[in-house]
Symmetry: C3
Subunit: 377 residues, 3 copies
Amino acid sequence: MPRFLLCDQLEPRRRAGCRYNGRRVTESILSTNSTYSLAEIAQRFDLTCHGDPTIRLDGVGTLAGAGPSQLSFLSNSKYSAQLAATHAGVVVLREEDVANCPVAALVTRDPYVAYAKIAALFERLPAALAGIHPSAVVAAGAQVSSSASIGPCCVIADGAVIADGAVLGPHCIVGEDCTVGAQSRLVARVTLVTRVTLGKRVLVHPGAVIGSDGFGLAFDHSASDHGSWIKLPQLGGVRIGDDCEIGANTTIDRGALDDTVLEQDVRLDNQIQIAHNVHVGAHTAMAGCAAVAGSAKIGRYCMIGGNAGVLGHLELADRVTITAKSLVTHSIREPGEYSSGVPLQENRLWRKSAARFKHLDEYARRLSALEKDRNNE
Amino acid sequence: MPRFLLCDQLEPRRRAGCRYNGRRVTESILSTNSTYSLAEIAQRFDLTCHGDPTIRLDGVGTLAGAGPSQLSFLSNSKYSAQLAATHAGVVVLREEDVANCPVAALVTRDPYVAYAKIAALFERLPAALAGIHPSAVVAAGAQVSSSASIGPCCVIADGAVIADGAVLGPHCIVGEDCTVGAQSRLVARVTLVTRVTLGKRVLVHPGAVIGSDGFGLAFDHSASDHGSWIKLPQLGGVRIGDDCEIGANTTIDRGALDDTVLEQDVRLDNQIQIAHNVHVGAHTAMAGCAAVAGSAKIGRYCMIGGNAGVLGHLELADRVTITAKSLVTHSIREPGEYSSGVPLQENRLWRKSAARFKHLDEYARRLSALEKDRNNE
Amino acid sequence: MPRFLLCDQLEPRRRAGCRYNGRRVTESILSTNSTYSLAEIAQRFDLTCHGDPTIRLDGVGTLAGAGPSQLSFLSNSKYSAQLAATHAGVVVLREEDVANCPVAALVTRDPYVAYAKIAALFERLPAALAGIHPSAVVAAGAQVSSSASIGPCCVIADGAVIADGAVLGPHCIVGEDCTVGAQSRLVARVTLVTRVTLGKRVLVHPGAVIGSDGFGLAFDHSASDHGSWIKLPQLGGVRIGDDCEIGANTTIDRGALDDTVLEQDVRLDNQIQIAHNVHVGAHTAMAGCAAVAGSAKIGRYCMIGGNAGVLGHLELADRVTITAKSLVTHSIREPGEYSSGVPLQENRLWRKSAARFKHLDEYARRLSALEKDRNNE
């Protein structure tokens, strides 16, 4: 018995003919009672099956926590000991681990990827009904596909386009000249400010703000007092490619003249800040609280660690990894892993190291002087 | 004369019988005219009173700013000089400071704690009426206590439970299978995404997002192009204990398989990021912009400084303090204070230190070589 | 043909006489067809004009991207090569660059400032109609100017004041005793919690939370278990001066007893955290993700870099610049530029430097010992 996020029995309001029409938008929704046989899963994902193919599975779990009707996985050999003791119904693993598996197994070269695909079968997304919730405010000049779902209290401006099968959860705002691509999902409370284009299957989490003003200021020395700031109008937009994911409370500013761009399959965690005119290459992922300053250009397949930063106007090559909390202060031309920062110490010891840091230049000079003396002897 | 946040004269809408029913939810609300005698306060909080017990107090203030009808406190001896000059009506202080107090005094061993308790008497929270505002959208399958207050534009999904005396300010979203415990307060614009359970007396500030998808990705090398990301469904939830406080725009992701957990009395400041499957022990406090990566386990009574970070899967013992902006890169087994980072310098000098940092390994080797030479002489 | 953000044809609801009244609030709105002659612009901004004064301009662009009906600028000599090749209709530049300009020119001492002012002519803000959208919830005790615009789903509490010409986009919340000054613009989804006063022409971006509780806690050792936290009521407010700008998802807490203060023309980027009782001097700008801890006092004309931090209770003089990601750990009395942090290296090399950092104190001692030996020879 499916449950719906929104009361479809609410009386229609505002736009006749636009209420929820009772058709479900998302095809992937499963009732909580869905089960699959091991054989079905093996066939669907093209995996080799060991054990009773009629076992029925109704969910997933960790090696330690899964029960006989659940599927688990072994991807990291660190957890091999847990395999021997697992009570899972079936485990996804590599060929070399089959011998140690006390229960049924599905064999693949990449168990983590296979598990990710299988687990999606058991995800129950909030159901979404096609149509517009009566409490939503949709401008006359907005185009909303009849197969899209517009949740309670959404506000959609003139010039906005909501494509087929897109789902806007409660409280989303889609400003002027913004487009939400087909099958995209704004979970709830997402703000697209202006001139934002989302591709297909983009997923945006609550509190994200996309298309707000870039931080562009000119200091006017001639102004009264000793000068003051003048704001530069931010006339560009934001373009987000297919299959991107944008985390909760992440902010992406629109460009000053040209656009801010995320290519396809870019994955941003929560509370990330992308400044105006940044360009992020396809398949790049950034962990929580990373920040990229204006006009920086990040390559493809990069990994930016949590709370790492990239200064403005820099360029990062493809396949660059920046470790957590590092600050990128110069462009990086070669793929590889880069870091800054100093290691954690007990505060008592750290204070000594930190105090010495301020005198490093002096120490280096004194060291050279000693060496020179030594060589002159 | 109490004032109400919400117009209770608005006509009912949507759900007959569910409008504000005129009963106030929060008992602690005081009119601005509330006053207390010194004797009343001394008795209520079990403090020793010096001076005229009939003095009436109508508020609190700093030693420097408080007037004769206000109460102040001296907790830090740094401010002793201000005590002598205070115009406050009464000062909360330690026994040893009574002699230097020119006005009435309340004596206690911990003036700051006593002050906190007394000051709460003078806080005027926005009044909240039991019932559901007519602009709120409440699903038929939600359970809302008749003593709870649901503010304007709130959206409450099927399977949600709002317990007795809970107050949801305007624009809160409570998703499927979320529970708001008794006497909890969501100030405004709070989002509980899915499978979130808040305990009793939990306070959540605006913009907080709890229960959003954890950032779980598997890289599928076999995908077209040179591979792409696959999302791992986030099937766990979030459990938040009694008496926790969650700051503005803070994000707490739900777990991948198990839950993300905050034990009781955890206090999070603004813009904190808690990743999926993190476990935070009771009474731990984190300052603004701290971030904890996935599956980290923080002990009880820890203090995490502003913008500090903890890498994934690490464990911190009880009573660990991390100073501001430090990055925890290994598990910590012993209580104590830990730090990373280098001290602030004038940029001109810092550049020299920073340049030398890159050669530290070389310097250490050269130093050893000199020592060896020395010893061989 | 102007387009409106909000459907003014919606039927009135809730408060008769308060619907949008059809008068536009913002005078600066231009239709997309607005054009200006070179002569008009030169006269309006008092610039010297070279070239055909009848050229008509309909927008702005980069030197590389602008076409014949667009205006560009040359502010940084780094882009001089682009000047020679530009197809812009006119370029704003300095006297010394006129000779190299292949098209019409406007001459000024500060091309970036002049460009900022001119570009504002071509910005098309979402139109705003005076009046209150029927879906907004406005308390009976709120004062809303008849020339203000209150967007969809806004919630305005008792005691709130919305001054002349103020524009509140969709989903703004204005809490008790908050004031929005004349001509201020809350773009969308802004939360003013309580006791917040915005001056004139203040611009606040989506997701910003102003006036939330400061993070004030006292640890009560006498509580059950091994002690627990007690919250200090936050009884102050927030005062924001004229012409300030507050970025998306930025948080500014209200004071514990006194107010948190931003003087005029303070410019805050996205995701900045300003704790309770902070005081920021006029004309100071902070880049994204900066954070200032409680009671810190920042001077005038300061520049705080991205993700930089300032510890609590510190004071920064006027005209102090803090570079990105630096942590200010002591008060700064002299203007100038200050930094902390270490440079980015390849991870393999950085590991060596970082490992040595922990032994800096030992190295310094060994260096001194060698020098002493040397001197004793």
